[in-house]
Symmetry: none
DNA sequence: GATAAAATTTCACATGATGTTCACACAAAT
DNA sequence: ATTTGTGTGAACATCATGTGAAATTTTATC
């Protein structure tokens, strides 16, 4: 599932991308001009950004330039037929491809897939998102509403394990076996203490960790 | 001036690339197989790597896989007409383009230029900047607030490796394997000592090297 | 090839962070 | 009301890292 941001003032274009994107199982977000796009990129991470060049308020190139301060997500530029522009300038901003309007939706999706595949190989970060709770798996760090939260290794491991097995009831035995290791002889209740610490670190999202009385715990949340 | 590495066992191919590359004012380096290429990449930084797939000793894909431990320079793969291979696999390794032999030298150079322009936009310079901490990869030298800092080879390698993998938690095993080599049998704690030296050399930026308790270390900074 | 210098590695100890246990209070189920 | 299970704080045990110094290896110099 990719997170696609399409930026265009034409409703029609956004609609096409949304339709085909969602058909392929991706999540499509929309912005209607550069300003809006920058704002969204400051707050979210996208797999790819489809950006029109000619837009009111803030044009596509300027928007990309601004966006590059926050993310290096791949960018595909849309241009109207006959529009003249400096491709090289785009490359310097990290633009990955150009598509001329009108385009065939199928071709667009193919290019999107190609770009994302290539980008993945460059080592983009893997992460888990649950609204304001964000886990950076490569950096082993956790963010709550954008603020980094310090966690001990066990707390982090516990959180990631539960998040990866979200919406499943996990027994204490299972947690001990998979996180502590098969050779742990300690008390069941050790987990409770770590859950306590984890909850206090999750702050407003402490209720994502649900107690399953008599069983264990469950991580209950939807990836946004 | 780009630094182009062409890897091919065919003398003819290397010659064409060298000729056209130098005509365009670039510096062209040559390797005749994968092993040679890996060795050169470990010691030097290239703007782009032109890599044949079918080669004696070590094939192109395996070579790229190995090279990715040292650099993320863009790669253009050369394949003989009719050769079948998995493009997707290449993308995962960060392969930027494919060209089928025989090719027109002019087209090859055009593609090289396109890739490098794109790569530049992604911020792939021969130097790494983190505010007042500056690493010159060509000169293997480090500057702190403009002043050159003397580092031992291991300290430098450690810093560069961590900087290239910034914001990723790196285990001691990973660091030992990738910097010391797979055949290092020494103590884990060796790293700690080098980290200590590195930190003291980084002066005001010592806190860029973050301890990940129970895991290893992480280089935490944004290239301005 | 011998010697000195530099770099690397090992090691032991102190310190602080983390993990575990436990007792008690409290809440939920029957 | 009784039983059973969980939340919590504090005490305790354990573990990982920072550090200095010594031992070893590598490199440079004569």
């Amino acid at each position: 599932m990719y997170r696609i941001l399409v930026v265009d003032d034409e409703e029609k274009i956004r609609e096409v991308v949304r339709e085909y994107g969602e058909f392929s199982g991706h999540k499509v977000y929309e912005a209607w001009d550069g300003i809006q796009a920058v704002k969204m990129c400051r707050e979210n991470e996208f797999s790819i950004i489809i950006m029109d060049i000619m837009m009111p308020r803030l044009d596509g190139f300027s928007a990309v330039k601004e966006i590059r301060k926050y993310t290096n997500a791949p960018v595909l530029m849309l241009s109207a037929r006959g529009e003249e522009y400096d491709k090289l300038f785009g490359f310097e901003l990290g633009v990955d491809d150009y598509v001329t309007k009108p385009f065939s939706p199928k071709e667009l999706m193919a290019r999107i897939n190609a770009i994302i595949s290539r980008d993945k190989g460059r080592g983009n970060k893997k992460q888990l998102d649950f609204n304001g709770l964000n886990i950076d798996l490569d950096g082993r760090s956790v963010y709550v509403d954008g603020n980094k939260v310090d966690m001990t290794p066990k707390e982090y491991d516990l959180l990631v394990y539960m998040a990866k097995n979200k919406n499943r009831a996990l027994t204490r035995e299972q947690l001990l076996r998979d996180i502590w290791g098969y050779d742990f002889y300690g008390d069941d209740r050790t987990i409770d203490t770590h859950i306590k610490m984890l909850r206090s670190n999750l702050g407003p999202y402490r209720n994502y960790v649900v107690t399953m009385r008599g069983i264990g715990y469950k991580f209950e949340a939807e990836n946004e």
